[in-house]
C-alpha cells in the first residue's frame, strides 16, 4: 500500500472562524493505482491534494494521519516535509502553465530548480522522459510562450516526476486545456505510471467523464467527506450513493438531447463548512433523505473495494 490516509482533517483559518474543508477522510492508495478524486467546488478534493504536499499559511492540520510507504508524513511540519516533497510525493498544480518563468528557457529553469534542491539530472535521462510524454528535446531550448498549453502542462509533469516519486498528485491538470490537448496529457500521465516512473497517482478533477478514462478507482467527495469510492467501472455503472447517482445523471453525453429527455441537476448548493450541519451533509438535497440521515452515516464497505457513506446504500 503506497499511501494510507486515516481520518484526515484539515481546517482553514478565516476571519469568521475555521472552515472544516476536510473533515475526516480516509482511504488507501495501492501500488500502481491511479485514484480519481472527483467532486464539485467546496468538496475538499483540492484541499486534500494540497495538504499532502504543503499546508499553506491558512491551513491547519487538525487531525488524522497520512502514511507513505509505511512512514507517517509530518504534515504540519513544513521543514520536515521538505525531505518528502518532490522526492517522494510530488504535485502537478492546476495552473502549471502559468508557473513557468516566462523569462527563462525551459532547460535552464529545470537546471536551476534541481540545483536549488541539491539534485542533478543527466540530460539523457531528461530527454528520455520528455520523449515519454511526447515532447522533443528541442523543448528545452524554448521559452514558455512558444509552447502550447498542453505542452507546458506536460513539461511541468516531467519536472514534477524527475525524482521518481511514489505518489504524484495531478491537480486539475486538464481543466485549462482544450479538448484536443486533454487526450495527450492524460495519455502522458498514464504512461508515467505504466513505465514505473511514478508508483501511484491521485488525479483530482471535477470532470467525471475524463476521470473514468484514466483512473482505476474513483473517490467521490462531498462537503469535506467521502461519499463513495469504488473501482471505475463499478462507480460509473452501479453507483450506490445518491449524490454520485445524481451527479452522473446530470452529465449530458454527446447525443443526449433536451427534447428527448431533459436531464436535471441537483438543486441547492453544498452546506457551509464553517459550521457544518450534523448528520449526513447531503441531506438537504437528497431525494432519499429521512430521519435516519440526521445521524452521520459511517463509511461502509458494501462490496470488495467499494465503500459508501450512506444509510440507504449499506
Amino acid at each position: 500500500m503506497t499511501l494510507t490516509v486515516n481520518d484526515l482533517r484539515v481546517h482553514y483559518r478565516t476571519l469568521r472562524g475555521e472552515v472544516r474543508a476536510l473533515d475526516g477522510v480516509g482511504f488507501d492508495l495501492a501500488d500502481g493505482e491511479i485514484l480519481g478524486l472527483a467532486g464539485e467546488s467546496g468538496c475538499g478534493k483540492t484541499t486534500l491534494g494540497k495538504s499532502l504536499i504543503r499546508l499553506d499559511g491558512r491551513m491547519r492540520h487538525a487531525g488524522g494521519t497520512v502514511t507513505l510507504d509505511g512512514e507517517e508524513l509530518p504534515l504540519s511540519d513544513d521543514r520536515a516535509m521538505n525531505a518528502y516533497r518532490f522526492h517522494r510525493i510530488s504535485l502537478v498544480p492546476q495552473y502549471s502553465m502559468s508557473a513557468l518563468n516566462p523569462t527563462r528557457r525551459i532547460g535552464r529553469m529545470i537546471r536551476e530548480l534541481l540545483a536549488s534542491r541539491g539534485v542533478s539530472v543527466d540530460t539523457g535521462e531528461l530527454h528520455r522522459r520528455l520523449a515519454l510524454v511526447g515532447l522533443e528535446p528541442g523543448v528545452l531550448e524554448r521559452y514558455p510562450i512558444e509552447l502550447s498549453g498542453g505542452m507546458k502542462q506536460r513539461t511541468v509533469m516531467v519536472i514534477s516526476t524527475l525524482l521518481d516519486p511514489s505518489v504524484l498528485i495531478a491537480d486539475e491538470v486538464t481543466s485549462a486545456l482544450d479538448v484536443s490537448n486533454q487526450q495527450a496529457v492524460v495519455g502522458a500521465l498514464r504512461g508515467l505510471r505504466d513505465k514505473g516512473l511514478v508508483t501511484s497517482m491521485i488525479f483530482v478533477t471535477h470532470d467525471l467523464g475524463l476521470t473514468s478514462h484514466i483512473a482505476d478507482s474513483i473517490m467521490v467527495m462531498y462537503a469535506g467527506k467521502l461519499a463513495e469510492k469504488a473501482p471505475t467501472k463499478v462507480l460509473t455503472t452501479e453507483p450506490r450513493h445518491p449524490y454520485t447517482r445524481m451527479l452522473i445523471g446530470s452529465l449530458p453525453q454527446v447525443g443526449a438531447r433536451y427534447k428527448d429527455k431533459p436531464l436535471s441537476g441537483i438543486e441547492g448548493s453544498p452546506p457551509s463548512l464553517l459550521n457544518p450541519p450534523a448528520g449526513c451533509r447531503f441531506r438537504d438535497r437528497c431525494p432519499l433523505a429521512d430521519s435516519r440521515c440526521a445521524e452521520e452515516p459511517p463509511v461502509v464497505e458494501v462490496a470488495p473495494r467499494h465503500s459508501v457513506a450512506c444509510w440507504k446504500a449499506a
Binding site: V179, Q183, H206, G209, V254, P262, L263, S264
Partner: protein, 297 residues
C-alpha cells in the same frame, strides 16, 4: 432573426498598429426565433469575438450583422432586445456592490418611470422565473452567492427587458456539473418562449444537448455547420471528427478520429462559396487535405 454575413474581424497588433491578426474570417450563419444555435470552438477560435460583435461590444471589420433586418448597433434601443451573459459569474458583478444592482441599472436605463412597488414585483417574478428564491438571493453581495445563482440572476436581468435574443458566452464553464444542467434547462425554457439564443461553448456535449443548429469554428473560420444531428451524426470535416472523438465519454472508449478520406467540399464541386451544402442544412468547408482541389469532378 440574427444573420451574420461574411463577418470578419481583424485586430491591429504592435505599436501604432503595424501587424494584424484575423480573429474572425468571413463567418456566416443565422439563428431563427425560438432557435438555439450553438457556436462550438476551442480557445482562439474566435467564438467570443463573434459573441461580442453580436452584442455590439466590438465592431466588425467587414461583413454585416443584422437582427430582424436592422444592423447591429450598440445603444439603449438595441440592448432592450439583445442581451448577453458571460463566462465568469463573479467577474460580471461589481464586487463592491450588492448583486441586485444589476437590476437597478436596468431600471435606471429602461424603466425609469416604474413605481418602486411595481418594479419590486417585476424583479421578484423574474427571479422566480429562473427558479431562484427571491428571499435567498436578493440583498446579497456577489461573494455570498454561488456561481450558479449569479448566472441565473443575470438571466433574470435579461428577462426584465423585452428580450428577443440572448448571447450566452460560455456561461456554464465555470459552474459545477450539477448546476450546469439547470442553467441549460433555463435556456431551453427561454427558447420555448420564442427567444433566440446563441450558445457559445467549447463543450460539445452541452452544445448538442440544447441546440437545433450548430456552427463549428476553428481559427476564426466556420468548418462545418447545420442541423445538430446531421453535423454530429455524420461529421464530414476532419476537425469536427477530431473534436467529437476527443470528448471523453462515460462508459465509452476514448478513440481517435477516423481520418477523412476525401474532401466533401471539393467532391461536391464547390468553387467560390465558403461552405458547401452536402445535404439540406448541412454545410462543410474544405477539409484542407494535401490534394484538395485536384480531385473535383
Amino acid at each position: 432573426m440574427l444573420t451574420l454575413d461574411r463577418v470578419t474581424k481583424t485586430f491591429r497588433a504592435g505599436a501604432f498598429g503595424g501587424g494584424s491578426t484575423t480573429a474572425v474570417d468571413r463567418v456566416s450563419f443565422s439563428a431563427a426565433p425560438g432557435e438555439l444555435v450553438s457556436l462550438i470552438g476551442e480557445s482562439g477560435s474566435g467564438k467570443s469575438t463573434i459573441g461580442r460583435m453580436v452584442l455590439g461590444l466590438t465592431r466588425a471589420s467587414s461583413g454585416s450583422l443584422t437582427l430582424d433586418g436592422e444592423q447591429v448597433r450598440p445603444g439603449k434601443d438595441f440592448y432592450r432586445r439583445v442581451q448577453g451573459v458571460f463566462q465568469d459569474p463573479f467577474s460580471c458583478y461589481n464586487p463592491v456592490f450588492k448583486a441586485d444592482r444589476v437590476f437597478a441599472l436596468v431600471r435606471r436605463a429602461y424603466h425609469p418611470g416604474v413605481p418602486d412597488q411595481e418594479w419590486a414585483g417585476r424583479v421578484e417574478k423574474a427571479v422566480r422565473d429562473v427558479r431562484l428564491d427571491p428571499g435567498q438571493v436578493l440583498g446579497r453581495y456577489p461573494h455570498q452567492l454561488s456561481g450558479g445563482q449569479l448566472q441565473r440572476l443575470l438571466i433574470a436581468r435579461a428577462l426584465l427587458l423585452d428580450l428577443r435574443f440572448l448571447v450566452a458566452d460560455e456561461i456554464t464553464s465555470m459552474l459545477d456539473a450539477s448546476t450546469r444542467i439547470d442553467v441549460l434547462n433555463l435556456l431551453a425554457g427561454l427558447k420555448e418562449r420564442g427567444l433566440g439564443v446563441l450558445y457559445i461553448t467549447h463543450d460539445l456535449s452541452l452544445g448538442t444537448y440544447l441546440a437545433e443548429r450548430t456552427v463549428v469554428l476553428r481559427g476564426g473560420r466556420v468548418v462545418e455547420r447545420g442541423d445538430t444531428q446531421k453535423v454530429f451524426g455524420n461529421p464530414l470535416h476532419p476537425y469536427t471528427r477530431t473534436l467529437l472523438a476527443a470528448v471523453p465519454r462515460l462508459n465509452q472508449p476514448w478513440t481517435s478520429a477516423e481520418p477523412v478520406e476525401a474532401c466533401a467540399y471539393h467532391e461536391g464541386g464547390a468553387r467560390d462559396t465558403d461552405l458547401y451544402e452536402t445535404e439540406p442544412d448541412h454545410f462543410v468547408a474544405c477539409a484542407g487535405l494535401p490534394d484538395c482541389g485536384r480531385t473535383s469532378a
